[in-house]
Each structure stands twice: as C-alpha cells, then as structure tokens.
C-alpha cells in the first residue's frame, strides 16, 4: 500500500558471530538385557523427556490389530494396578506417558519433572514387565480403538495416505498404519499378551532420556529400574520396503464422495540417511518442496493460490527411504496443482536445476532448523530418537550436518537430476468423484 523504493537493493543487517555450541554431555550404553540406553543433558527446564522405541514389525493384518490393542492397554499398569492409579502416580511428579504403535515401531513418549524420573521409570517398568491386559480393561480399550479407527477412516488426509501406500506397496506391512475394524474386534486377550511376551522386548530397543539429568546417574537409575525387563527374543524390524509400484503412471483418482477438497500424495524411491548421496539429495529436496520458500510452495501457494500448505520430504523407513510430496487443493484446482508439481519436478531435475542461491538458502535452512530443534529438550529427544533406533551413533546428526555444510552445489544438482524426475513418482488424488464435484 505504500509505494516505496524498489526492493532488492536493501542492505540487511549483518549477522552476529555464531555462538559456540557446547558439546552434548551424554552417555550411550547397552544394558545386559540388550536395551540401548542413551541419556543426554539439556537442562533448559527442570524436566526430563523419555522416548522408548521398540522395533515392532509384523507380517499379518492381525499383528497390526494386536499391536494397536497392546499399545492402548499397555499403560493401564501391572497386575492389580488400574489406569487411574498409574496416572495418579505419574501426575504426582508432573509426569505423563503415552504409547503409540505403527508398522515399524512401538513408541512410548513421556515427560516428568526432573525429580520424578525414578518414579516415571518405575511405572514404565511395571507396565513393561507386568501389563495385565485385564479383560474388562481390554474390552473398554477395544471399544475406544474401534471408534478411533472409524474416525481415522473419515479423515481425508489419512485416507489419502492409506491410498498412496496401497497403490505403491499393495499388501506390504507398511500399509497397515491403521488396523482393520474386523481384526480389532477379533483379536483376543491371549494374543495381545503373547505379542507382549515375544515382541515387546528390550533387545534391539532404545530408551532415550533428554533433559535436566546427570547422564551417568540417569543411566544407572535406568539399569536399576528397568533391569528386570528382559527376554530371550529380539525386537523384530519391519520388512524393508520395495520401490513403489506404478511409478511414472498417470495419477490414480481415488473417489471420496462428499469431499470438499482433493488430497494429493506422491511417492518415489529415495536415499536412506546413511547413503553417501543423502546430504546432496536432502538439499535438492529442500529446494524443490522442503520449505516455504521452495519452488513448489512458491508456485502452488504464493503465485497460484491453489494450496494452503504442501511440502516434499524424505521419509526414512526401515532400511529404505521414500521421497514424498503432499498437499490439498480445491477440486477445481487439484488437477492443475498436480500438473504444476510434475512441472516443477521436471524443471528441478532437468532444464532448471537448483541455483547457487537456492542451494545456499536450503543449506542455511537445513542447518539452522537442526540447531533450533536441538536447542530444546523435546526437539533434541525427537531428533535423536530415529537415528538411534536405526542403530546409528549418538553423534549422527552432527555427522550429517557437517556433510550438509560442505556438499558441493554440483552434487546437489546431480542428486536432483537422479532422484526428482517426475517419472520416478507414483501418485494418488483422493477427492469427490467428478459428477459430485461441488461448485467453488
């Protein structure tokens, strides 16, 4: 509204010298039970974050249902305890625990005031060694789970993701992010208890504590309180994903009667984080669609007004990786938005490779955001968890950061050309069947 000097010639204020980041004070060890325990000090608040990840792969639809029932009943406590008593014991020390499960992993997330860490660990140990799966508790949780499964089915974003996974991977276990209602209804108490005995085991699992802790003491407390959680079994990883099917084929239309918006999802093979080419592809993906200033978002949102949010990402899965793109757009815009996405992929992998300025911006963003995330307790815990569960060393994020800092621009362009070609992608578009499309 104010006619002002032409932009572009502005002298921006200089950056201050970067602050030195002190090394992470941490202990990384494996207990005799096979549980890897990592404790890292980040005393920004008198709180401790807990993450327990257990690889939880399975091969059947029944496994997915039993795993869900297990995860929503696990924290109801050991024999004799009930959920309210467990929750009261945690709340008294400002603590909380929750468990979720997916095709790859069972994850327990918790936090507690620092002084309450022993109690949080004791409660967790009770649940891991003595979860009772009382029939009445299980029945109530089953009922709530069935409601959640139905709700998930009515969420367009979740339905689109499920459609993409089915399209790309058929019946692979990775497609079972939500269990089927009939399986949830059918799995019995003994099956859940047996799954706990054979699959919810410490060998292959990682317990991570981040916060206002002395790492050596926190590890000693963990060894004392969780030492009784043991098993001859080893946690099972999900079978690796094959490359997506239907790559380079026309987008699959998935009808969703009554939908007011179309959900687009694309997937291509990508590089695992230990691949030497990963840092370059990470930057190429950022330039294409990995942040707000990327080509994808600038085109679809800021120039064309066709999306609110959208992005590309490299999803790390067990032993494989997927390059994904996702956004939602009004039915009358959706086909053009998908075409625009494919155009931008063709350009970034072809005649309009990432420029030096784009790569520099992507590098600055990737490194800065990583530093920001690691400055908080929750952020540090969440960013360490994935690499640790994949068996990587504690300093893995620093290793990747150093590579991202130095990877040459030419390698970034080569990564874009090799991995971001439109024909590498399979695509689905979930939305109203054509005659059902509402007016704008």
């Amino acid at each position: 509204m104010t006619p002002a000097a032409a932009p572009g010639a502005v002298l921006l204020p200089p950056l201050a010298p970067p602050r030195p980041v002190p090394p992470l004070e941490a202990v990384d060890t494996v207990l005799p039970t096979g549980l890897r325990v990592v404790a890292a000090r980040r005393a920004t608040a008198p709180v401790v974050q807990l993450r327990l990840g257990v690889p939880f792969g399975g091969s059947t639809a029944r496994h997915a249902a039993a795993a869900e029932l297990l995860s929503c009943t696990l924290l109801a406590g050991g024999p004799g305890a009930d959920r309210a008593a467990v929750d009261d014991a945690l709340a008294a020390v400002g603590g909380s625990l929750k468990a979720v499960v997916g095709p790859e992993e069972l994850l327990v997330t918790g936090q507690v005031l620092a002084e309450g860490l022993p109690r949080l660990l004791a409660v967790l140990a009770d649940c891991l060694t003595g979860a009772g799966y009382e029939p009445t508790v299980l029945a109530a949780e089953r009922e709530r789970l069935l409601h959640r499964v139905r709700l998930t089915g009515s969420m367009p974003a979740r339905a689109a993701r499920a459609a993409l996974l089915r399209h790309c991977f058929g019946d692979h276990p990775a497609t079972r992010e939500t269990p089927a209602e009939e399986q949830v209804a059918d799995v019995g108490r003994d099956e859940v208890a047996a799954l706990h005995r054979t699959a919810l085991v410490p060998r292959g699992a990682v317990l991570l504590l981040v916060g206002d802790v002395r790492p050596d003491r926190a590890v000693a407390e963990t060894a004392r309180l969780l030492g009784g959680w043991s098993s001859p079994h080893r946690a099972v990883r999900m079978a690796p994903l094959p490359a997506p099917a239907h790559r380079g084929e026309p987008v699959l239309a998935v009808p969703s009667p009554g939908a007011r918006q179309c959900e687009a999802r694309l997937a291509a093979p990508s590089l695992v984080r230990t691949d030497p080419g990963y840092p370059a592809l990470l930057l190429a993906d950022q330039v294409f669609g990995g942040h707000f200033s990327s080509r994808l978002v600038q085109r679809l949102r800021e120039r064309e007004g066709r999306i609110y949010s959208g992005r590309s990402a490299i999803e790390q899965r067990t032993g494989s990786a997927l390059g994904t793109v996702q956004f939602a757009s009004a039915p009358q815009h959706a086909a053009a938005a998908v075409d625009g996405t494919l155009d931008e992929l063709a350009a970034v992998s072809g005649d309009r490779p990432p420029t030096g300025a784009e790569i520099a911006a992507a590098r600055g963003y990737a490194l800065g955001v990583q530093a920001l995330v690691r400055s908080t307790q929750k952020g540090l815990a969440d960013s360490l968890h994935g690499p640790l569960l994949a068996g990587l060393p504690l300093d893995w994020p620093d290793t990747v950061a150093a590579l991202v800092r130095t990877v040459p621009d030419d390698e970034v362009r080569a990564a874009a050309a090799a991995h971001l070609r439109p024909e590498a992608y399979a695509a689905v578009l979930l939305g109203p069947p054509a005659p059902d499309r509402p007016l704008p």
């Binding site: 502005v10 602050r19 008198p46 400002g94 009515s154």
Partner: protein, 367 residues
C-alpha cells in the same frame, strides 16, 4: 509407589526485562543466556473480534507477508529461512502474533524484518486475490473437509453470545474476502497496527541491554500514531440455556460441547478456572475422563478447556468448555447432563488436596 513429595522444585524463573519506546512500542525480553537460539514475536492488539468483515483480520495477517517498506513479496520468508529460522503468524480473538525462531546471531535480521512491515506493508489487488484463495484452501483443510473441523470454537459462540464481534468465526468466507480492497487494508493497518498497539517479545540467547539497543535502532524510527480503541465486547449473561445443533457429514459419532462464561482474566477466579479445567479433564484419572469415559461409557473422549482458544488467549467475555465425543448408545443430551453433574459436584465439594496438587504439577510440565 511412594507418596507424592511435598512440593515440586520451583522452575527457575527467568527475569523479564521491560522497556517502552518513544513511539509506544512495548518490549519484553526473557533472556536464556545458554541458548543458541532466539525467539521473537510481535503481537498487535487486533484480532477477529476487532474486524467488521468476517475473516478480514486473518486475511490481513497473510498479506503482512507480501512485502513491506523495503522488501518485496516473499522476501521476509526467504531471509528468515535462508538464515536458518522458522516463522509463522496466528490470528486470535483479540490479538495477531507474528513470530520467528532463529539462530541467536540472526536476531537483528529478525528485528529489521518485523520493523519493516510495522512501518509499511505492501499490499496489491493481486496479493489480496491470491491470499483470499489460499485462505479458502486453509478453511477447506482445517474446517470443511475434516471431521469435527472447527468444533466447538466455531459453533459455541453463536449461542453463547449475541454481538457480531463475539459470535462470528475468524475465517469468514471466500466470496466476502475476495471482495476486500487495498483501501480497506490501508485503513485496517492505520487503525490497528500502530507501534503503540503492539508488544515486541524477545527470548533466548540474547543480552537484554543489546535487545533494547537493537529494538530502538530498528523500531525507534517507526512513527507513533493513534490506534483504534479496543472494541466493546461486553454482553449480559445468558438468561436461559441455549442449544444449537449442526450436521457434520464426516463425523462418525455425535459430539457435544457445553460452554459457559468464565471469570475475566486478571480476576482471582480466572486462574482457578484454568486449574479446574485440568482437574476435570487432564489425564486418565481426571473427573470427566473417569466418569464419562470409563465408568458410564457415555463418551469416547472428553476435554475441558478454560477459554474458547485455550487459557491466556483472549479478553473477556470468554467461555469455559467441556467437549465430548459421545459413544453410539449415548445421546448428546445425556452426555452433556452427565458432564454437568461432574461440574456441579466439583463446584460443591472442591478438589481433594492431592487431586489439586497433581493437576498443578501437570500444568508445570505442560508449558
């Protein structure tokens, strides 16, 4: 399991430094010397209860990213991100907040960018058309194409209140927003975006004296001007209960929300209402969860919230909410009655001492 210890260790309370610039801009600094990052936010005292066109304050928030006195469209986002930062903005009932988290060394850049748009955003008819379309996609994504989208904060105000300011939602509709003009934007900016109607907050790895010096350098030259007075929002209490029903095609089960006026911020009852919400709905052993979900099986999930947009978010009048998804064999009215009984019981007896302590402890780790 041992008994609760007597008292939680008090969290280290950082000292808040305050400063006021000659043009009226208020500055708050909350230093955390060890942090490699800074957060900065500029909040303006204008929200969707200040607007006369539904959704205008939110559309205007989008337009504040479309260029400013010395920057072109999208340059704000590009500079923040290329320097390793993240940004966003949110439009609330009574304020609009623009914020960045950045590496500490980029603090001055962030202040420069915020000051530049406080001085003069650059709004064109094309930007209005594009962002109205983006907002339409945002509404589809978060409200119309999502089960329970906008529930209950879009619906409850329609029966809790009577005035346009209090009853309408912050999104509006596409046709109305697309008709907004550049002149309307200029007027809105002039009325509500004066430095005297804003608070600049800086936290993280920053020295307070340096924050004051940099704020003076970049914001000190933004001219002072008179801001519009805040809207009069007061309404009488409801004489009788009111009920509203809406159909949601995507919702697999009915949901019910009950709202009642809550004590205004700054009164003793306000914080008590925040803690009461935790006693009622926070955690497995909370009263509503225990009664409605587990014992009586009238709800699959239930929540209590002190404030239509959460606690500490807006001025009076605001509402205390109880919100539940009903089980298939429970009627919404029966579930609502059961929730009222739980509230009545708490009001009559008050919380038990250890129940209160648990709720407060949880709130301590929630922020």
């Amino acid at each position: 399991m041992t008994a609760p210890t007597a008292a939680a260790r008090p969290a280290a309370t950082a000292e808040v430094h305050r400063h006021r610039l000659a043009n009226g801009l208020r500055l708050l600094v909350l230093p955390d010397p060890g942090s490699p990052a800074v957060g900065l936010a500029v909040a303006y005292g204008v929200g969707y209860r200040s607007e006369s066109r539904s959704g205008f304050a939110h559309l205007f928030e989008h337009l504040m990213f479309q260029g400013s006195a010395r920057l072109g469209p999208q340059e704000h986002a590009r500079h923040v991100q290329a320097n390793g930062g993240v940004f966003n903005a949110t439009t609330h009932r009574d304020h609009t907040s623009y914020f960045q988290a950045m590496p500490a060394e980029a603090l001055e850049l962030g202040l420069f960018l915020e000051a530049d748009r406080m001085r003069a955003p650059r709004i064109t008819p094309e930007a209005i058309a594009t962002q109205a379309s983006v907002v339409a996609e945002e509404i589809r994504r978060t409200v119309t194409n999502r089960p329970y989208g906008g529930f209950p904060t879009f619906q409850l105000p329609q029966v809790l209140f009577d005035s346009f300011a209090n009853t309408h939602d912050g999104y509006g509709d596409h046709a109305s927003l697309a008709a907004a003009t550049v002149a309307e934007c200029a007027d809105f900016f002039a009325r509500h975006y004066a430095p005297g109607n804003a608070v600049l907050a800086v936290c993280g790895g920053v020295d307070p004296r340096q924050a004051v010096e940099l704020a003076e350098r970049h914001f000190g030259t933004v001219p002072a001007r008179t801001a519009a007075t805040p809207p009069d929002l007061a309404e009488p209490q409801l004489a009788v209960p009111r009920v509203l029903e809406r159909t949601d095609r995507l919702a697999p089960l009915p949901a019910v929300a009950v709202g009642r006026r809550m004590p205004p911020p700054g009164t003793p009852g306000h914080l008590a209402a925040v803690v009461a919400a935790a006693v009622l709905g926070d955690g497995e052993s909370s009263r509503l969860r225990r009664t409605l979900v587990r014992e009586r099986r009238l709800a699959t999930q239930v929540a209590a919230v002190a404030g239509l947009s959460g606690p500490f978010d807006s001025r009076d009048p605001d509402a205390f909410l109880v919100n539940a998804v009903c089980t298939p064999d429970a009627s919404p009215r029966r579930t609502a009655r059961a929730a009222d009984e739980v509230l009545t019981d708490l009001a009559a007896q008050g919380p038990a001492e250890d129940e209160l302590r648990r709720a407060v402890r949880r709130l301590q780790t929630a922020w």
